[in-house]
């Protein structure tokens, strides 16, 4: 088959419109539940206030454990919570979207279209990621402009790069988790294991260095540990990319290996559901 430049461009444009179509659909859907939509926005504000009062508990004293990240607990925990939000949405949104589509009955209608499964699974979670980004941005803006968090010397480019790799790494876990839902519908061990271990050991609310040595070794098996370390160093200490490699490399390796593997597993899971006739079961 021969393609002209025009038809290729048109194909690309059509493909590029799919993420937007999912985003628009999910936004219209979410905005139609007006009360939930508004309370979600207010929720962001209350979360930030909670962190602020937590930080007052520690005062402005520089805590030795936090010294590598600038020493301020409020800034430390805000970055921790922001990135943990991405972990949470990555782990949950893919599987939740699949389960919603199974329960609502829209899954078959989507799977019979000319859109391939990897595109569907990735695009279906875009809205959750967009909302999380809005929330994280609000955290940071409140932190900086209202509560005096200092990111004056931040390496924003480096932070954005780490965020992108982190989202890819976390998403691969989420897609694996969606494969469980596709086959077993409920009961998803991956979410539980990674969610809880990351929260407890990954350094969300306290630095990994406060953990006993053997637990620190476990912590360094989790992608969130590297993501948080790199993000804090980029945002709070303004490290250039050349000094962020120890955090970026493990994340890149994790993302590079796990993303194709998880998409492959998900395709196998869909095939199994098609074989068992359970695509729409829940």
């Amino acid at each position: 088959m021969r393609y002209s430049a025009g038809s290729l461009a048109e194909d690309w444009l059509t493909g590029a419109r799919k993420p937007l179509a999912f985003l628009a659909k999910d936004f219209v859907n979410a905005a139609s539940y007006k009360l939930a939509f508004v309370s979600q926005i207010f929720g962001i504000f209350f979360s930030v206030i909670t962190f602020f009062f937590m930080s007052r508990l520690f005062g402005s004293a520089v805590l030795p454990y936090l010294e590598p990240y600038g020493g301020n607990y409020f800034s430390f925990v805000l970055v921790g919570i922001a990135l943990a939000s991405y972990l949470q949405v990555s782990l949950n949104s893919f599987s939740a979207n699949i389960r919603d589509a199974q329960i609502l009955g829209t899954l078959e209608a989507v799977l019979v279209t000319q859109t391939e499964i990897p595109t569907i699974i990735l695009c279906a979670s875009l809205y959750s990621f967009a909302m999380t980004s809005v929330r994280v941005l609000a955290f940071l803006l409140f932190g900086v402009f209202v509560f005096g968090m200092d990111i004056g010397g931040a390496n924003l480019g480096g932070a954005a790069a780490i965020l992108l790799i982190t989202i890819i790494a976390f998403s691969s876990l989420g897609i694996l988790s969606a494969s469980f839902v596709m086959v077993w519908k409920l009961g998803n061990p991956l979410n539980w294991i990674f969610g809880n271990l990351s929260w407890v050991l990954g350094g969300v609310l306290y630095p990994v260095t406060v953990l006993p040595d053997w637990l620190q070794q476990v912590a360094y098996l989790l992608p969130i540990t590297y993501a948080l370390d790199g993000m804090r160093l980029a945002l709070l200490k303004g490290y250039p990319l050349s000094r962020l490699w120890p955090s970026v490399l493990p994340l890149l390796a994790f993302a590079g290996l796990m993303l194709p593997a998880s998409v492959w597993v998900f395709q196998r899971a869909v095939r199994k559901a098609k074989r068992d006739g359970t695509l729409t079961h829940y």
């Binding site: 194909d11 059509t14 609502l104 829209t106 859109t115 098609k274």
Partner: protein, 334 residues
């Protein structure tokens, strides 16, 4: 190549849910239920083909196999010559699936927003999508309701929107899964008229209609396959099925004469053939109505009439009766 769909020896078994006890005692054993067994059929291009059968007959599973939503365990299924196992992507370009379940839409989006979303997933450009959606909304009579939320649609409107969605990519083959299910008789008739006039007579598409309504199939389809218990019980035109099924002709005889003697003469003239007689105490000025089922090549209605006349029984009327559709259905799946 004139075949739109082809199934040969198609078999599908689904695993059944197991209890904890079974899981503990026989963790590796699988309990399977057969949904399709050795199904073979062909659908020609441009024809309207009916898949008939009671609930649980395997109709929807068969459609889902052709739509690449379920994979067969054995046998071959081809759509426009493409294999459902290996060429799913190419198949999905050529088919439209009208899902009977109204929950397959996003309820809090308008009809137009729903169609626009599915048009994008079907690779229609914005311009193509807008044109096509406008045309389909007009065609399905939903133009005035296009910007209402789907949740506010009536059942009939939802089914029409499902048809519109199925037609978005102008498919070669359209699968309709019980499109008139839960519609009132008028809405049902309207939708049937739309299918007949626009899809069949107008567009000359290949249409596969899945239904458990024999009359609907007779109204719309040139050929049908009757499925029951996962097997094809009959396949062909309704006339062919009527003949194959019965293998007999049915005649009505209105007779003037005593009940017992009339029945005796009939039994004498038709040894071994089925006779439906009125109750013995039936009294009627118009005569008694008997139904006889003749085996072709063995009995002849003229011989029966001759025997009645010889037996001094006045034959007031004699006519051939078509086997009613419902009865055909009942006999095939009963």
């Amino acid at each position: 190549m004139s075949l739109a769909l082809e199934a040969a020896g198609l078999t599908k078994r689904f695993p059944q849910g197991r209890r904890f006890r079974d899981l503990l005692l026989h963790p590796l054993a699988k309990r399977l239920v057969t949904v399709l067994e050795d199904v073979s059929l062909e659908v020609h291009r441009g024809e309207v083909f009916g898949l008939l059968g009671p609930n649980g007959a395997g109709k929807t599973t068969l459609i889902k196999i052709f739509c690449t939503l379920v994979l067969p365990d054995a046998g071959v299924a081809r759509v426009n010559g493409l294999d459902v196992r290996a060429q799913g992507k190419a198949i999905r370009r050529t088919i439209g699936y009208v899902i009977g379940d109204e929950r397959s839409f996003y309820w809090r989006l308008t009809g137009r927003q729903n169609l626009r979303f599915f048009a994008t997933l079907n690779n229609l450009s914005r311009l193509e999508a807008d044109e096509r959606i406008g045309e389909l909304l007009r065609l399905t009579g939903l133009e005035a309701h296009a910007d209402r939320m789907f949740k506010d649609y009536s059942t009939g409107m939802r089914q029409r929107l499902a048809v519109a969605r199925g037609l978005l990519k102008e498919p070669d083959i359209l699968f309709l899964d019980e499109p008139t299910k839960s519609l009132d008789p008028i809405a049902s008739q309207d939708l049937r008229r739309f299918i007949r006039e626009r899809l069949v007579e107008g567009d000359r598409r290949t249409v596969v209609l899945c239904t458990n309504n024999m009359r609907e199939a007779a109204d719309l389809c040139r050929r049908v396959a009757v499925l029951h218990g996962g097997r094809v019980r009959a396949c062909g035109t309704l006339e062919e099925i009527q003949q194959t099924l019965a293998g007999r002709e049915r005649y009505c005889l209105r007779l003037h004469g005593p009940h017992e003697r009339s029945l005796g003469v009939l039994r004498g003239a038709l040894p071994g053939d089925e006779i439906d007689a009125p109750p013995p105490d039936t009294a009627s000025h118009d005569g008694l109505l008997f139904r006889v089922h003749l085996s072709p090549g063995r009995s002849d209605i003229s011989h029966v009439v001759e025997a009645l006349v010889r037996g001094n029984i006045r034959v007031q009327g004699c006519w051939r009766e078509e086997i009613p559709l419902d009865e055909i259905f009942r006999r095939l799946v009963g």
